[in-house]
C-alpha cells in the first residue's frame, strides 16, 4: 500500500527557489480548495516526499478523522503510516516522542481542542524539553495538529482556544493557519521543522474555500522561519492596526470593509505564528497608525493577547496614541453553544474596539 519511497525532503531539490520558479512557470492558475482539503494535500505530499512522515491519532484511519483531514491517507499509505491509536492523548503524544527519537516525523491529530489536556504533561515535560535536556542530541520533529475555536454549535470541550498555554512553553513553536494556501504551506513547513510545532486549525473554517497552489511548495523551506510562518499584512490601512490569527481573520477583513464605509482605514495583520511572535510588522504598523486592536477567541487573562499588548507597548511606547485594545473571550469557561455568538469576537465587537481605540 506504500508508494515507492521518495527522496528525503532534506536533500530534494524541489524546495529550492529555482525549483519553485520552474514549477510555478508551468502551473495552471491555482485551483480552489477547502482548508481541510489543503491540509489533506499537505499531509499527502509530505508523506510522499518522506517515508518517515507518519500520521497518528484517534479515528484518522478509515474514518479520515472527524473532519476528514486525513481522508484516504490510510488507504494509500497503509496502517503503519496512518495509525488509528488507542483512545488516549498522553499515549498519542508520548509515543510520538519515541517515534521522533527513532527518526520518524509524526504528525499527531488531537480530535478537538479540549482534548489536548490529557496530553499536556507529555507536551510540556517531554516534547518541549527533550532537545534542551539533551543539548541537541535529540531533535523533536513532531507536529501536534489541533482543530480549535468555536462557532460550530458543539457541546463542551469542542470549541476552545487553548493556544495561549502553548505560547507560555519554551521549546514549542505555535502556529495557526487561516487560509487554504497557508494551511498547506504552513503544515508542510511544520512537518519539515525539526522542532515541535503545535499547529492550530480554525475548525469552523475547514469548509471555506480559497485558492490553493500545491505544486509549487513541495519542498522544505530553505530559510527559517519560512515565509509562511511570518506575520503578514492582509490589508493595508492607516488609522488602526487590527491583528489576529486563525478563525477571526475573516472577521477582521469584514470589519475593515465595514470601517472603510465609515471612512476609517484599518490595517489587518495575520500573525500566523503565535510563538515566537513575529511582531516586526505589527510594531511597524503601529508606528504608523498609533492604535492597535488585538482579536482572539481565547480568554483574556494571561493570554497571547496579553503578551502582544505588553510587547507592542514596550516596543512602540511613544507611537501609541491609545492603549492596546483587546477583543477576546471572556474569562469564563466556553458557554453553551447557543451563547457562543455572544462569546466570540464578531464584526460589531471589533468595530466597537476600533472606535474605542480611536476615541483616545
Amino acid at each position: 500500500m506504500t508508494p515507492p519511497s521518495a527522496p528525503d525532503v532534506s536533500s530534494a531539490g524541489a524546495g529550492t527557489p529555482e525549483g519553485l520558479q520552474s514549477f510555478q512557470g508551468i502551473a495552471s492558475p491555482p485551483p480552489s480548495s477547502t482548508l481541510a482539503k489543503a491540509l489533506n494535500s499537505a499531509l499527502r505530499s509530505a508523506m510522499e516526499d518522506d517515508p518517515k512522515v507518519i500520521v497518528m491519532g484517534e479515528d484518522v484511519g478509515k474514518l479520515g478523522g472527524v473532519f476528514r483531514v486525513t481522508d484516504g491517507l490510510q488507504k494509500d499509505f497503509g496502517d503503519h503510516r496512518v495509525l488509528d491509536t488507542p483512545l488516549a492523548e498522553s499515549g498519542i503524544i508520548g509515543t510520538a516522542v519515541g517515534l521522533a527519537m527513532r527518526g520518524y516525523r509524526p504528525v499527531t491529530e488531537i480530535q478537538f481542542d479540549g482534548f489536548v489536556f490529557p496530553g499536556f504533561d507529555q507536551i510540556i515535560s517531554q516534547v518541549a524539553k527533550i532537545t534542551y535536556r539533551t543539548q541537541g542530541a535529540w531533535s523533536m520533529p513532531l507536529v501536534i495538529r489541533i482543530p480549535f475555536g468555536g462557532g460550530i454549535g458543539a457541546v463542551e470541550h469542542h470549541a476552545e482556544a487553548p493556544e495561549s498555554f502553548f505560547c507560555h512553553i519554551g521549546g514549542l513553536r505555535v502556529v495557526a493557519c487561516s487560509t487554504p494556501q497557508d494551511a498547506f504551506d504552513m503544515l508542510r513547513a511544520a512537518i519539515a521543522c525539526d522542532d515541535p510545532v503545535v499547529f492550530f486549525e480554525p475548525k469552523r473554517r475547514y469548509w471555506e474555500k480559497g485558492s490553493l497552489d500545491t505544486a509549487s511548495r513541495r519542498g522544505v523551506p530553505d530559510e527559517w522561519p519560512p515565509a509562511s510562518f511570518r506575520s503578514i499584512v492582509r490589508r493595508p490601512g492607516t488609522d488602526v492596526t487590527v491583528v489576529s490569527y486563525g478563525p477571526s481573520m475573516p472577521v477582521l477583513l469584514a470589519a475593515a470593509d465595514a470601517a472603510a464605509g465609515e471612512g476609517k482605514s484599518l490595517e489587518v495583520i495575520d500573525l500566523r505564528t503565535l510563538s515566537p511572535l513575529d511582531l516586526g510588522p505589527v510594531v511597524e504598523s503601529v508606528r504608523r497608525t498609533g492604535r492597535l486592536v488585538v482579536v482572539s477567541e481565547a480568554p483574556r487573562e494571561a493570554s497571547i493577547t496579553s503578551d502582544i499588548a505588553a510587547r507592542v507597548t514596550e516596543e512602540a511606547f511613544y507611537s501609541l496614541s491609545a492603549p492596546v485594545i483587546r477583543v477576546a473571550g471572556f474569562d469564563t469557561p466556553y458557554p453553551p453553544s447557543r451563547l457562543e455568538d455572544e462569546y466570540l469576537p464578531d464584526l460589531d465587537k471589533v468595530l466597537d474596539a476600533v472606535d474605542r481605540a480611536l476615541a483616545y
Binding site: 474514518l63 457541546v155 465595514a258 465609515e262 453553551p336 453553544s337 451563547l339 457562543e340 464578531d346
Partner: protein, 427 residues
C-alpha cells in the same frame, strides 16, 4: 421463569468478527456498497478482533436472544412479572425518545444527538439495580441511566441544543452531569466512593434499603485506554472504594473497533488491580440487572471495587455527526439486530404469557406520547440570556467577571438604544 435454551451469543463468537460474517445474500452485499468494501478488515484486524471480542463461558447471560431464561448460579435473580414489564417499558420509552433525539437533530432542532440505540438493556439493567442513595457518574450516552435516576428526558435536551451543559440537578438525582472528556468521570466517581467509605456509608450491618451506599461509573470500551480510567481503578483498590466500574463495551469508539484498545476482553483488566471483574451480556437486561445488583451490593458491604463489562453493540452511529458506513459493514449491524435487547424481553413476556397485546400497545402509545412531549419541549427551548455566560463560574463573588458582565450588557444595551441590531447590522 426459567428454562434452558440455545444461547447464540455465547456460541457464535465468529459472528462478531466482520470478515467471517461474509454476506450470504446479494441484498446484504448491496447494503454494504462501496463503504462496505472500504470497511473490509485486514487479516490481522480479524485476529485481533476475534481475540478482543470473543466470549465463551465467561459471559453471563440469563435471557437468550430468543427470550429463553436460564438461571445463573452466581447471579440468582427474582423478578416479578410486573418488574419484567417495567424493564420492558423502560427500554421502549428510552429507545423511543432516543430515536426522537436523532430526528430532532436531523430537523435542525438539535446540534447533535448521541444515540444509545442497542444499549438499552445495558443501561436499564444497571440503572434499575441502583438504589436511591447510590450515585451514578455517566459519560455522555447514558440516557437510559438518566431515565432510571428520575431525570426527565427533556432535561437531557439542553446539552444537545446548546442551551445548557447539564439540565438536571446532579446532587438531588444522584446522577452527575454528563462528562465528555473521556475517562475523567471515572476518577471523580472513585473520589465520591472514597467519600462514601470515609462517611461510614458502607459495610453497615443494619439491614435496610438506604443505610449503605455505592457509586457506579459508566464509561466505554474506548475509555479503558485512558490513564484516568486506570488511575480510577488504582485509587479505588487502594482505598477500598465502593465503586462499580461499568464498562459498556459497545465494540466501537467512533470508528475504532475495540480490538484497537485491547488484545483481550476488557473485564480481564480488573484482576491486575486485585478486584473482581465480570463480563455480562449487555443486551440482556436481566443479566445486567442481576450482575449490577450483585456488584453494587459487594460495594455496599465493603468488598468494592468491582468491574463489569457489559458486552453490547452500538447499533447506530457514534453521534448524529458520524458516518459509520466509512468504517464498518452493514452486515455487522444486521447481525446485531438479531440480538436486540428489547425483542428478547418482548418474546419472553409474550411466550410466557406475562403480557398481552394491550400491554404492548399501551407501552407503545405511552412512548409516542413521551416522544411528542420531548419534541414539543425541545422546540420551545429558547436561547439563554447573555448573563448566563457569566454566572455560576464561581460560587463566591468575583469582581473581574462581574465587571466583564456589566460591560458586556452595557455594550449590548448600546445596540438597543441605537435601534440597531447586532451582528453586522451596525454601521
Amino acid at each position: 421463569m426459567s428454562g434452558v435454551s440455545p444461547t447464540p451469543i455465547t456460541t457464535a463468537p465468529g459472528a462478531t468478527a466482520p470478515s467471517t460474517a461474509a454476506p450470504n445474500t446479494a441484498g446484504e452485499a448491496a447494503a454494504r456498497g462501496a463503504a462496505g468494501l472500504r470497511g473490509q478488515p485486514t487479516p490481522s484486524e480479524v485476529i485481533a478482533g476475534l481475540r478482543a471480542t470473543s466470549h465463551g463461558e465467561d459471559l453471563v447471560q440469563l435471557l437468550s436472544p430468543e427470550g429463553d431464561f436460564t438461571a445463573h448460579p452466581k447471579f440468582p435473580i427474582e423478578v416479578s412479572a410486573e418488574e419484567l414489564r417495567g424493564l420492558y417499558r423502560d427500554m421502549v420509552m428510552v429507545r423511543r425518545f432516543d430515536r426522537e433525539g436523532n430526528a430532532l437533530q436531523r430537523q435542525g432542532q438539535l446540534s447533535i444527538w448521541v444515540p444509545l440505540l442497542g444499549q438499552e438493556a445495558a443501561q436499564i439493567g444497571a440503572g434499575r439495580a441502583m438504589r436511591r442513595n447510590d450515585m451514578a457518574f455517566p459519560s455522555y450516552r447514558e440516557h437510559g441511566i438518566a431515565w432510571c435516576r428520575g431525570v426527565d428526558p427533556t432535561q437531557l435536551l439542553g446539552i444537545f441544543r446548546g442551551t445548557d451543559q447539564c439540565g438536571w440537578d446532579p446532587k438531588a438525582t444522584r446522577f452527575n452531569s454528563y462528562t465528555i472528556v473521556i475517562g475523567n468521570q471515572v476518577l471523580n466517581a472513585t473520589g465520591y466512593a472514597m467519600g462514601q467509605r470515609f462517611d461510614g456509608a458502607i459495610g453497615s450491618a443494619i439491614a435496610g434499603e438506604d443505610t449503605n451506599e455505592a457509586t457506579i461509573a459508566f464509561f466505554g470500551d474506548g475509555a479503558t485506554s485512558q490513564g484516568d480510567v486506570h488511575e480510577g481503578m488504582v485509587f479505588a483498590a487502594a482505598f477500598d472504594a465502593p465503586v462499580v466500574f461499568y464498562c459498556q463495551n459497545n465494540q466501537w469508539a467512533i470508528s475504532e473497533p475495540v480490538s484497537r484498545q485491547s488484545r483481550v476482553p476488557l473485564w480481564e483488566r480488573s484482576a491486575g488491580y486485585g478486584f473482581p471483574g465480570v463480563r455480562v451480556d449487555g443486551n440482556d437486561v436481566l443479566a445486567c440487572l442481576a450482575v449490577t445488583r450483585w456488584a453494587l451490593e459487594e460495594c455496599r458491604s465493603g468488598n468494592g471495587p468491582v468491574m463489569i463489562e457489559a458486552f453490547t453493540y452500538r447499533m447506530d452511529a457514534h453521534t448524529t455527526s458520524d458516518d459509520p458506513t466509512r468504517y464498518r459493514m452493514a452486515a455487522e449491524e444486521e447481525h446485531w439486530k438479531l440480538l436486540d435487547p428489547i425483542e428478547r424481553v418482548r418474546a419472553h413476556l409474550s411466550r410466557r404469557g406475562l403480557a398481552d397485546q394491550s400491554f404492548f400497545d399501551g407501552v407503545s402509545a405511552e412512548a409516542d406520547a413521551l416522544a411528542a412531549r420531548f419534541r414539543a419541549h425541545c422546540i420551545g427551548m429558547e436561547k439563554p440570556p447573555p448573563e448566563r455566560i457569566f454566572v455560576h463560574v464561581y460560587s463566591q463573588p468575583h469582581e473581574q467577571l462581574d465587571t466583564q458582565q456589566r460591560e458586556y450588557l452595557q455594550y449590548l444595551a448600546g445596540f438597543v438604544d441605537d435601534g440597531a441590531t447586532q451582528s453586522g447590522a451596525r454601521a
